[in-house]
């Protein structure tokens, strides 16, 4: 449980609205999904491959969770899993963004003659 949200959780649990926090997360999820839908439906088919490698890089956001597992010394087991997770997620993030950029660099308009 990170930071402010854990405080939110405690606050929520202390009051009568123990469901507030989980529901806040659903709000975030649903709204982000909605924004995602609005944006992605406007991406032209031309760029669908870069789109997929970009969202693939973005799904490497699990890196954020992996970092804590790898560095917090919860247990040896956790640290090991964290190390593997950090490595895998970093491959995803670095590789994903770099190859997306490499692809996008290739898309050129016709030069005016």
């Amino acid at each position: 449980m990170t930071s402010l949200s854990s405080v939110f959780l405690l606050a929520a649990e202390g009051s009568s609205t123990s469901l507030t926090l989980p529901f806040l997360r659903f709000y975030v999820f649903v709204l982000a999904g909605f924004i995602g839908y609005q944006i992605i439906t406007k991406v032209p088919a031309l760029l669908h491959t870069p789109l997929m490698s970009a969202t693939n890089a973005i799904s490497g956001i699990s890196l954020v969770g992996s970092l804590v597992a790898a560095g917090a010394q919860f247990s040896k087991f956790s640290t090991f899993l964290g190390l593997v997770a950090v490595t895998a997620a970093t491959i995803n993030v670095v590789g994903g963004f770099m190859i997306t950029d490499r692809m996008l660099k290739m898309f050129k308009r016709q030069e005016p003659k």
């Binding site: 449980m1 402010l4 949200s5 854990s6 405080v7 405690l10 202390g14 989980p22 997360r25 975030v28 999820f29 982000a32 999904g33 995602g36 944006i39 992605i40 088919a45 031309l46 760029l47 491959t49 870069p50 789109l51 997929m52 490698s53 970009a54 969202t55 693939n56 973005i58 799904s59 490497g60 699990s62 890196l63 992996s66 970092l67 560095g71 917090a72 919860f74 087991f77 956790s78 899993l81 964290g82 190390l83 593997v84 997770a85 950090v86 490595t87 997620a89 491959i91 995803n92 993030v93 670095v94 590789g95 963004f97 770099m98 950029d101 490499r102 692809m103 290739m106 898309f107 030069e111």
Partner: protein
């Protein structure tokens, strides 16, 4: 709805009253601000992809967003040792960079598939580590809500790991790309999936402090891994665009579930964006094949349908054409539409295609490219290959834009494409691809098809276009044929 401000007094009171091991209010605020900034940057970045000229800049914003999120996390007070983090970051960045620099563009579908596996692996391991920490190290109960999120995380994560590895194996041709089928396949797959759901429900609704709960949790991970393998092996190579999009979506949902478990909004947001993107792409791909999800996932295309198509072409013959004749047709054509397919990718012939197109244009003809949404092995595959070969993107037209123009074209040049130009999709209700939107190559004045052999395409469906009197076939490897055509057109 409650806002943060309404909650503020309660939060402060709660923060004072609780005995959390360490409180670092400043750091926590910095981290949350970093996550908020990262979320905004990721969304702005994706929005860049709606326009080809803004896309690169957008992705740079997204990459900065990711960096901000990572830097923010690094000041988390729970991190006490940076050794393993540094090691993971360095190794991961090295491998990731190497993969992206030296990977040929034709291998993009494979790279994407294996990359989904890495993302899902990270999410799954974070979930396992969290479960282990709470139950074994802290010896506490996992709340029902957290258990439900953890369950989603590890099921989606584990099936995406193995599913993506199988997709990678098929795309890299380490595994046969044809569907692998056996008796009671669908029944056993569904059974296994139901088993995973039951395990999930049991884990959520029982107390997490027993040994059996822990055993069941790990068993559920194993079942998830098995489901991933079994659900992808019966899916054939031509259906990979749907599968790869679906796995993209699952990897995102696993990340989002991680966010629910850790109470981390940037994970929830990034995962939701990714999940939405994969979902939309898989719907677009299914539509482009006129098939439902269930049909792609459980339909194991192939054997039974091939016979039906084959019968209708018995007694017909195809018309082979020589390189010289084909070159002459192309050299004197005013309008040529090129239809690329997976065969072009396999032969890595995109550079020769561009060379041929340039030659025709130099002679005064006009060349356009017709891109079917499911041509190739992933969404947009052909566009990337042709862009790599320096074909300007305004020449790459989507199906809806170009279909009306075929009737005006002198020559439609089909390179390694099959099902996407099969007229049976329009006029043969008995065909398995009936109803699939196709490129109207058959409406061009003449059609030249570059093909390796007369073996029917992957789906095993005969293509009536090849037997059309105005269609001629140039047999041979696409790259070799194109090189010869280029040489001939030069001298024509």
């Amino acid at each position: 709805m409650l806002t943060a401000f309404d909650l503020l007094p309660t939060i402060l009171a709660a923060a004072e009253a609780t005995a959390l091991p360490a409180q670092h209010p400043v750091r926590e605020v910095v981290i949350e601000v970093a996550y908020l900034a990262a979320s905004v940057l990721l969304m702005l970045g994706l929005r860049g992809l709606t326009r080809p000229d803004k896309a690169r800049r957008g992705m740079q914003l997204a990459a900065i967003g990711m960096l901000v999120a990572v830097l923010g996390t690094l000041i988390d007070f729970r991190i006490v040792d940076y050794t393993w983090i540094a090691l993971g970051l360095i190794v991961g960045a090295g491998v990731g960079a190497a993969m992206s620099i030296w990977m040929p563009m034709t291998a993009i579908p494979q790279r994407t598939a294996i990359s989904h596996a890495f993302g899902a692996l990270a999410a799954t391991l974070v979930g396992i580590s969290h479960y282990d920490y709470v139950t074994r190290v802290l010896g506490e109960q996992v709340s029902r809500f957290d258990m439900a999120a953890l369950g989603f995380e590890v099921i989606f994560g584990s099936l995406t790991i193995t599913g993506s590895l199988m997709a990678f194996g098929k795309l890299q041709e380490l595994l046969p790309s044809a569907p692998i089928t056996y008796k009671f396949q669908n029944a056993s797959n569904i059974g296994l999936f139901v088993l995973a759901v039951l395990m999930f429900l049991f884990l959520v609704f029982t107390s997490s402090d027993s040994a059996s709960h822990t055993v069941l949790f790990y068993l559920m991970v194993l079942v998830g891994l098995a489901v991933g393998v079994l659900i992808v092996i019966p899916i054939g190579g031509a259906d990979m665009p749907v599968v790869i999009s679906l796995l993209n979506s699952y990897a995102g949902l696993a990340s989002s579930a991680t966010g629910f478990v850790l109470g981390n909004n940037v994970l929830i947001i990034a995962g939701a964006l990714d999940g939405a993107s994969g979902f939309i792409l898989s719907i677009l791909m299914s539509k482009a094949m006129n098939r439902s999800f269930t049909n792609v996932l459980f339909g194991a295309f192939g054997a039974p349908t091939a016979a039906a198509g084959a019968a209708s072409t018995a007694g017909l013959s195809v018309r082979p054409i020589s390189v010289e004749d084909a070159a002459a047709q192309l050299a004197y054509a005013r309008e040529v539409i090129i239809v690329p397919g997976y065969g072009m990718a396999v032969a890595q012939a995109q550079h020769q295609v561009r060379e041929l197109a340039e030659l025709i244009e130099k002679r005064g003809g006009e060349v356009k490219f017709a891109i079917h949404p499911v041509a190739g092995r992933m969404p947009g595959h052909m566009n990337v290959l042709l862009a790599e070969a320096n074909v300007p993107y305004d020449k790459l037209l989507e199906m809806d834009e170009i279909n009306d123009q075929f009737s005006r074209a002198d020559v439609a040049l089909v390179i390694g494409a099959n099902d996407v130009v099969n007229p049976a999709a329009c006029n043969d209700p008995s065909s398995p691809i009936y109803g699939m939107p196709i490129l109207n190559a058959d409406q061009a004045q003449s059609v030249i098809v570059l093909k390796r052999s007369m073996n029917p395409g992957f789906a095993g469906i005969e293509n009536a276009l090849f037997y059309d009197p105005k269609c001629s076939l140039l047999f041979g490897d696409a790259k070799a044929s194109l090189s010869k055509l280029v040489a001939e057109v030069k001298t024509a």
